[in-house]
Amino acid sequence: MYDFLTGPMLWLTFAVSFGGLLVRIVLYIKGLNQQLDRVAYRAHMGYGLKGAFNSIISFLNPVGARLWRIRPGFALMFFVFHIGIVITPIFLIAHNVMLQENLGFSLPALPTCVADILTWAAVVAGLLLTLRRVAFPEVRILTTGYDYLMMVITLAPFVTGLLARYGVGDYQFWLTAHIITGEIWLLSLPFTKLSHVVLFFMSRAQLGMDYGIKRGGMKGSSMSW
């Protein structure tokens, strides 16, 4: 079971997940339409790319956009959550040992205590983000079961990973659960709202190009997000 999950199944997961995300990017770009979107993407690519860069960078920087600056509490939860769930799996020592064994190379590994802190922080931030959905009327009205499902799919590998890491109960069981939930998470990326892992960049770039070309960029006015 373990061999299958970390062997063929893992490769399949990677192929579907990363291949699928690539398809999403291509389809997004192919579906852009200069006349319907009213943005001359091609004619002013230089201005567009500058605007796209500004748009993406401003929102990746925790103090880069006015939105983040006026909502520091949310910004903290948001960044802790996303940094935790993106950084930890990639640089976790246990994952990199597997990488070394299978492909003969590995990435620099996070010290265990840092990985622990990042994971715990991400889980707590994820729970707080979920709590927001219940607590605030303006978020409650938008929330659907699908949003909760996305959070469950996302947090499950981290929670099972922590349980395995601390050896709560049956280590083998939690390890298997961790691998399965991790693969479900990866497989969900291209097919669900989680596609925002790439579409965030696409959508931000698109609006950035809109501002960079039509809404001021060509007037030499830099959008202050």
């Binding site: 339409n33 200069q34 979107d37 939105l67 579409l199």
Partner: protein, 464 residues
């Protein structure tokens, strides 16, 4: 009854139909007919499939339902923060549902969508700046308006407005003759005070062509005269076209895409015909948005730009002041606290935030200019944008919406508001009328004329 006589899916194309719909005071019969208007689900769905591409689809798909857009929306803030005013909710519960149901929606639902699209969103585009994913719900509402218009679910005034544009190629019943006569009349009248002043109609190869808002020749002809005075004093080689002088687009507010294209093409044709080096328009936000920012796309221009550089009036003014074509008498500068309304349509939507402030630096004594908060591209809508000002049925909601601007103005402590946009100007006038906070408001033209340092040879003889 699928189609009404007044309320139907067919745009107003003739003067008879226009007069007929206009004669239905307040749209009483029009709205009564709307109750029976049939939704053509197949046509609606076909239109969506043809026009809704990856940008909008992705916006719907990836919306994280985080609710951060809530506070960005002045209508949410000013309406007691009720969750039904959250931008994301507003668009998902309307356009989102129509898409989900593949156009199979009821008449009642379409009327609900109409209420939301025209009384709960002014298409100010502010929410797009506060969404982590960059989802611009103002753009989506603009799109929804187009779908609703195609099915006949549009407020009475805007059906008429776009009908005016179709019949008169102007938002009001101002014909080419009326317009040219107004220009002649204003030139004659103004020439008494400003010797040598002209309003050159259809002059070939001028340096700059001027376009305006039909309201000006119709109700405020002095605005045309003021523009002429400033061009005259600046020594500008300018002209107005006899055809294609109307820059506004109520059809954009109405979502009448076909008419939008026709309006703008008419202006571009004037440019092609008269061959000016540049063009500029009046102090209007949506007119500039329609003719200069969106217009090139409606008419299918591949570079997304008008045929010649087409600047906003504030850009022309700033340039004239910068280059010394217009000189301000320092003694006449504004010496009282004064604030500035940033129009969504050319500040958020074309980045012209510094140009207006440059003008302020010439006309306001240092220390007297007070910024609103928030300001520039983060400024709030005046409260009457996107057609909101002109729809009788939503007057009450519009008056509530004005409170955001009222509070912003009160916070500056200023009694004078500069509003270089027709819609903003109207909204601020109405807010003073409604709430009586003791403010004055003005376009830039009259303010600047009042403080010009006029070269001696231009002064009337008896003043020399």
């Amino acid at each position: 009854m699928p189609e009404g006589i007044l309320c139907n899916k067919t745009p107003i194309k003739t003067d008879e139909q226009l007069k007929l719909v206009l004669s239905d005071s307040r749209g009483t019969k029009y709205y009564a007919e709307m109750l029976e208007l049939e939704v053509d689900s197949d046509a609606l769905w076909a239109l969506i499939q043809k026009t809704m591409k990856s940008r909008t689809k992705t916006w719907f798909e990836i919306c994280a339902h985080c609710g951060l857009c809530a506070n960005s929306c002045f209508l949410y803030q000013v309406n007691g923060r009720i969750p039904q005013q959250v931008p994301s909710y507003k668009i998902q519960s309307t356009l989102g549902e129509i898409v989900k149901k593949k156009g199979k929606v009821t008449n009642e639902f379409m009327r609900h969508c109409m209420d939301v699209a025209w009384s709960q969103c002014t298409c100010c585009n502010r929410c797009g700046m506060y969404c982590p994913h960059g989802i611009d719900m103002g753009v989506m509402f603009g799109y929804l308006r187009g779908l609703l218009y195609s099915q006949g679910f549009v407020p009475w005034e805007l059906k008429i407005g776009s009908g005016m544009h179709r019949v008169y190629r102007a938002q009001m019943d101002v014909t080419t003759e009326d317009w040219v006569e107004t220009c002649e009349w204003m030139a004659e009248e103004t020439e008494e005070e400003w010797p040598g002043l002209e309003i050159p109609v259809d002059k070939q190869n001028a340096d700059i062509m001027y376009t305006c808002n039909a309201r000006e020749p119709k109700h405020y002809p002095e605005d045309v005269a003021e523009a002429a005075i400033l061009f005259h004093v600046a020594g500008e080689n300018w002209t107005v076209p006899s055809e294609g002088w109307e820059q506004t687009s109520l059809s954009m507010f109405a979502g009448d895409w076909e008419c939008c294209k026709d309006n703008v093409q008419n202006v571009y044709d004037a440019i092609e015909r008269l061959n000016p080096k540049r063009a500029t328009g009046t102090e209007c936000g949506h007119a500039h948005r329609a003719t200069v920012i969106e217009g090139p796309y409606w008419t299918g221009r591949p570079d997304g730009l008008p045929p010649v550089p087409y600047i906003h009036y504030v850009e022309w003014l700033a340039e004239a002041l910068r280059t010394g074509k217009l000189k301000i008498d320092p003694a006449k500068r504004i010496k009282e606290p004064v604030t500035l309304q940033d129009s969504c349509n050319y500040v958020r939507n074309q980045g012209l935030k510094d140009v207006t402030r440059e003008i302020i630096s010439y006309i306001v004594e240092p220390g007297y200019f007070v910024e609103m908060s928030p300001t520039k591209e983060h400024n709030y809508c005046c409260g009457g944008g996107g057609g909101f000002n002109g729809i009788g049925m939503y007057r009450e909601q519009r008056n509530v919406a004005l409170r955001t601007k009222m509070d912003q103005i009160l916070d500056t402590g200023c009694k004078l508001v500069i509003a270089p946009c027709h819609n903003c100007w109207d909204a601020i006038r109405d807010l003073e009328e409604e709430y009586e906070i003791g403010i004055r408001w003005s376009f830039l033209k009259p303010l600047i004329i009042g403080m010009l340092d006029v070269p001696e040879h231009m002064l009337p003889k008896d003043e020399e």
